[in-house]
């Protein structure tokens, strides 16, 4: 092949955020209130529905659960699914 250019088609190394930091797509930022979050309140691994439902896989299944804001796109699914209503979507400050 005469084309040595690695970039003749779109490709990316499989990695967290292979396209770069997509967190800047976000308009609304999920903030977890650990005072309401079930695993934190019960002090044992439980619930983690935010981790399960997040389509980007950016929530950890740890107690407390943590969100990787470099890649969280702000879709709000975690807030919708949280049974303890511990997550609020807060407008990103401009």
């Amino acid at each position: 092949m005469i084309y040595k250019d690695f970039n003749i088609f779109s490709a990316a190394t499989s990695a967290l955020g292979e396209l770069g930091k997509t967190g800047d797509w976000r308009d609304l930022k999920p903030i977890i209130d650990y005072g309401k979050c079930i695993p934190v309140v019960k002090d044992k691994p439980s619930c983690f529905l935010c981790w399960l439902y997040c389509p980007e896989g950016v929530v950890s299944s740890s107690s407390p659960p943590r969100i990787d804001y470099d890649y969280c796109k702000g879709c709000g699914i975690c807030a919708e699914e949280c049974p303890a209503k511990a997550i609020t979507m807060v407008e990103e400050s401009k």
């Binding site: 970039n7 003749i8 088609f9 779109s10 990316a12």
Partner: protein, 402 residues
């Protein structure tokens, strides 16, 4: 020794694909293409061809299988016609955008509605802007030779190639074909020594979404945006002009047959009236040219072999001495002109060639176009030009238009 065998265009295409030692084939039956893949499945079944024959539920899947195979470096082949080609349209774009050297035969057939199983070139012409190289064949010899050349071209520029030829007129018509020797084909077209776009040592995600702008990936490497990647496809098609010519020349040296590269001509040197056509309507025009020349009319023929990339400069050069141009073609850009006529007019804009220009759409949906009718059309156009009708709208040959 190479030997001549009497065979159909579809047999020639299947044999060529086998001689190219294709590794993966996937196709879905559609008239008039089906007998290519039937022949290939026989080759695979009998063990003559060591290839993976993947049965699929549609043309969209057929090309998708070829895309996957080509992505890992396999030599992949498919063939289709008409609605099959239209059904895979999305993947036709995808194959080109992924820069995969797939070869596909398009056995030209009219598209519905209304239903037609018969020949014209509307199917492949409608895929003009998908980023594929399109080569049109005039006879069965050219089909076998062009499929072999097509892999060489595709693999050199990383662009898929569509080898187009007229349904029934060529696909199901027997004519003598000189079959190249396998050793010569092997030397001309060595195995593809590549793992394609994938590499187990360096795993990558192919075709993730790209942004309108360039952007650093997770490793901080700048990646092209959509426009850069598309610009590279466009540049590759432009570069393919030289490659098509070069491969044709190399083929002629090895196999002794020169199909002209981007263009071919017949009695065109110093001809004042130039007929331009593509595919079997061009070969059908040859006896018409002979007959007109016998009547003292200085007419010649130019056959367009590469529709994409379009040979703009070569066309200008060939038409430089023309006093009149008449285009015959089996496709139309509805609401404008014949498709080839549009291309030619655009190629001539800004050149010194400003001559009467007639164009004919003919043989749509398989309506017969024979040399006598072509001769009559040319004679009629010359009469109209003499009367001052220099650039009328596209004529519909042999069609009731009142």
């Amino acid at each position: 020794m190479s030997k001549a065998i009497i065979m159909t265009g579809n047999s020639a295409a299947a044999l060529a694909a086998k001689m190219c030692r294709i590794q993966v084939v996937a196709a879905y039956p559609i008239t008039p293409q089906t007998s290519i893949t039937e022949a290939i499945s026989n080759y695979v079944e009998s063990g003559e061809l060591k290839a993976e024959y993947v049965r699929v539920e549609s043309e969209h899947s057929a090309l998708t299988v070829c895309i996957a195979a080509s992505t890992v470096g396999a030599r992949a082949f498919t063939s289709t016609s008409s609605h099959g080609l239209l059904y895979m349209h999305e993947q036709v774009h995808w194959a080109a955008g992924s820069r995969l050297p797939i070869v596909m035969c398009c056995v030209n057939r009219g598209v519905g509605a209304p239903w037609s199983i018969f020949n014209d070139q509307q199917d492949s012409v409608s895929q003009r802007d998908t980023g594929w190289i399109q080569l049109y064949c005039r006879d069965n010899q050219e089909i076998i030779d062009t499929v072999i050349q097509a892999y060489k071209i595709a693999e050199a520029v990383s662009v898929p190639v569509m080898v187009c030829y007229d349904g029934f007129v060529l696909s199901h018509t027997m004519m003598p074909v000189v079959v190249p020797m396998q050793e010569q084909v092997d030397a001309f077209l060595p195995p593809l020594k590549t793992s394609g776009h994938l590499d187990t040592a360096n795993p990558r995600n192919i075709n993730p979404v790209v942004f309108p702008w360039r952007r650093a990936d997770s490793q901080g490497v700048m990646r092209d945006g959509y426009m850069e990647i598309r610009y590279k496809l466009h540049s590759a098609l432009n570069d393919a002009r030289g490659v098509i010519t070069q491969v044709n020349g190399e083929y002629a040296r090895v196999f002794g047959r020169d199909h002209g590269g981007l263009l071919w001509d017949y009695n065109a040197n110093a001809a004042e009236i130039l007929i331009v056509a593509m595919g079997s309507i061009a070969s059908e025009s040859m006896p018409a040219i002979d007959s007109l020349r016998a009547q003292g009319i200085n007419v010649g023929l130019i056959g367009v072999r590469a529709f994409r990339p379009f040979p703009k400069l070569e066309v200008r050069e060939k038409l430089a001495g023309a006093k009149a141009i008449i285009v015959l073609e089996k496709a139309i850009s509805y609401g404008h002109d014949g498709a080839l006529a549009c291309e030619l007019k655009a190629a001539l804009y800004g050149s010194a060639v400003r001559v009467p220009f007639h164009s004919y759409v003919a043989g749509l949906g398989g309506r017969d176009v024979n040399a006598k009718e072509i001769e009559a059309a040319i004679t009629d156009s010359l009469k109209q030009i003499a009367e001052g009708n220099l650039e009328p709208p596209t004529h519909w040959l042999n069609c009731r238009t009142e």
